[in-house]
């Protein structure tokens, strides 16, 4: 194995001892041997990348951090993994997640919680916590994740890295173990916006194996990074802004002032309060209703854990009862509740609410190019210990508002903003569907204003 890759793998292992971010290490030597030398001029040739463990990797365990899939070895690669290999990437490891991506704290993973590199007593966020923690630790530059509610963008905010959720349909989901098909997105983490733009060019594109995949052409996203914001209209999400106080408000106000000084037009966009407050409930009903169907193949008969039983129904019941954690069971039961109660009245109400939310965003985006909002306010939860109190309003409006981009499918990226009490806080930017190129430029401009995370600069000394 090449010495520099060996040294980086040793560093990854060393960092992981504190983070518990990795479920399975990949074998590097066979991948290097299989790399096409013709790729040597490609920007990602021999670059190491981590892959969230709900993304299928041929011949490499893919557990979705579930006991039920603890020994599942896919016989095919997800389309995104094929694309990584075609670009010259080397898969370093499969990373931990909330079981089946159902959660936001990475506490339900079968291999245990993932620690926050900035405070090991706190969570890294979820559900893509393992990927986020590895990139934030400086151990690796790139990691794939998935985002059903805010599972890339919230950990990115917790950890001062770039977290990208592209437009629904922009990246194929073939080979990704689903949580909720109408909300799931594949995305990724990088340390800076330029890498994020370059990586989308690798991952994006139509895939006939995914019927929700878009046929829109893939662009040269890096070419958009001009740092020019003249006449770009930013909409600050007023519903969230009005609830901010102290250092969070000050950090956002400073950024707004800096953007205006660069020639951007700033508007405050107020969405209907009743829709903002209904968004989390809408998401929770839809995600978990879909999950009941999406997880039905985890039956213990054809693959994964299998517990004995006298009938095939007993095998299924025993396996699912023992295989799922409480975090999954409660979501599935709630999803079934939403589908069953009063002939699915709650589910139908959520589908109609989704239409109202999408219409509201469409009309707001007629006035703006980019929506701006804080990534989070409440500190990441303690791994052990009581959750810090958050009011219902803060929970609905601030901490869970990023689900709008899953309900609407709009591309949404979180980039570093500031540090408050020693912990990072990110800023989230959202653009119109399939305008990822422009969105990366807005993010790039923010990155130029805020400056690279100083902690990350220090960690770059480990880079090889």
């Amino acid at each position: 194995m090449y010495p520099q890759i060996k040294r980086q793998m040793e560093f990854i292992r060393q960092e992981n001892e504190a983070l518990n971010a990795i479920v399975t290490y990949a074998e590097i030597a066979p991948q290097l041997a299989e790399l096409d030398p013709a790729l040597a001029q490609q920007p990602f040739y021999q670059a190491l990348i981590a892959v969230k463990d709900n993304i299928c990797t041929k011949g490499l365990k893919t557990t979705a951090s579930s006991r039920l899939l603890a020994d599942y070895v896919p016989i095919y690669d997800a389309t995104v993994v094929e694309k990584l290999k075609q670009a010259g990437f080397i898969i370093a490891a499969k990373t931990s997640l909330d079981e089946l991506a159902m959660g936001g704290n990475n506490l339900s993973a079968a291999t245990g919680p993932v620690a926050n590199p900035y405070d090991l007593t706190r969570v890294a966020g979820g559900s893509s916590g393992g990927s986020a923690a590895l990139v934030a630790s400086g151990a690796i530059k790139y990691a794939l994740g998935s985002d059903t509610g805010d599972s890339i963008r919230k950990p990115a905010s917790y950890l001062s890295i770039v977290g990208v959720k592209p437009t629904y349909g922009r990246i194929s989901r073939f080979g990704v173990i689903p949580y909720a098909a109408s909300l799931d997105h594949v995305g990724y983490f990088t340390r800076d916006v330029r890498d994020a733009a370059k990586l989308l060019q690798v991952l994006a594109g139509h895939d006939p194996k995914d019927l929700t995949s878009s046929t829109k052409p893939v662009e040269d996203y890096e070419s958009y990074l001009t740092n020019d914001l003249q006449n770009v209209t930013f909409g600050v999400l007023a519903n969230v802004y009005e609830l901010l106080t102290g250092e969070h408000l000050a950090a956002l106000d400073l950024l707004i002032k800096q953007l205006a000084e660069k020639g951007a037009i700033i508007r405050f966009i107020r969405l209907k309060d009743e829709l903002m407050e209904a968004m989390l409930g809408t998401y929770y009903v839809l995600a978990n209703s879909e999950a009941t169907a999406n997880s039905a193949n985890l039956d213990g008969l054809r693959f994964g854990l299998q517990l004995p039983g006298e009938t095939y129904q007993a095998v299924m019941k025993n396996t699912r009862t023992a295989g799922f954690s409480w975090a999954v069971k409660k979501r599935l039961i709630f999803g079934n509740y939403a589908l069953e109660q009063a002939e699915g009245e709650l589910y139908q109400q959520a589908l109609k609410a989704r239409q109202l939310i999408i219409t509201e965003f469409e009309s707001s985006f007629a006035e703006i190019d980019c929506l701006l909002t804080i990534g989070h306010v409440a500190k990441p939860a303690l791994i052990k210990g009581p959750a810090e109190p958050v009011s219902l309003k803060e929970n609905l409006i601030i901490e869970n508002s990023l689900v709008f981009a899953n309900l609407t499918g709009y591309p949404s990226v979180t980039v570093p903003l500031t540090f408050i009490e020693g912990l990072p806080v990110g800023i989230n930017l959202t653009a119109k569907p399939f305008e990822e190129g422009k969105l990366f430029n807005y993010c790039y401009a923010v990155e130029q204003l805020v400056g690279l995370n100083p902690e990350m600069k220090r960690r770059k000394s480990y880079e090889l």
């Binding site: 016989i75 054809r302 095939y312 007993a314 095998v315 009862t321 799922f324 039961i333 509740y337």
Partner: protein, 93 residues
Amino acid sequence: MKQLIKQLADNLMIELSDAEVELMAQELEGLKPILAPLKQLDTQGIKPRRYPFTDQVSELVLDEVKEQYPVEELLANTKNKQADLVVVSQVVK
């Protein structure tokens, strides 16, 4: 409510202990404040929306012979197999 929770779990092929049924009842109670704004929305006359975009078109797949995975690979993750088949308990007795 407890009977309903047991039934919902049973439909999902999940068995709950009495303590878990109690926990789930508390869970549903705890979700009420989150669901209340959704329930209160006026959605009269609004069509349900299942996906983010409405312009996606399903593609027809050509009717052509394609290379398939070998059976042994397909069954590689199966615990109980015999003669290229997944073995389950007898259904028809």
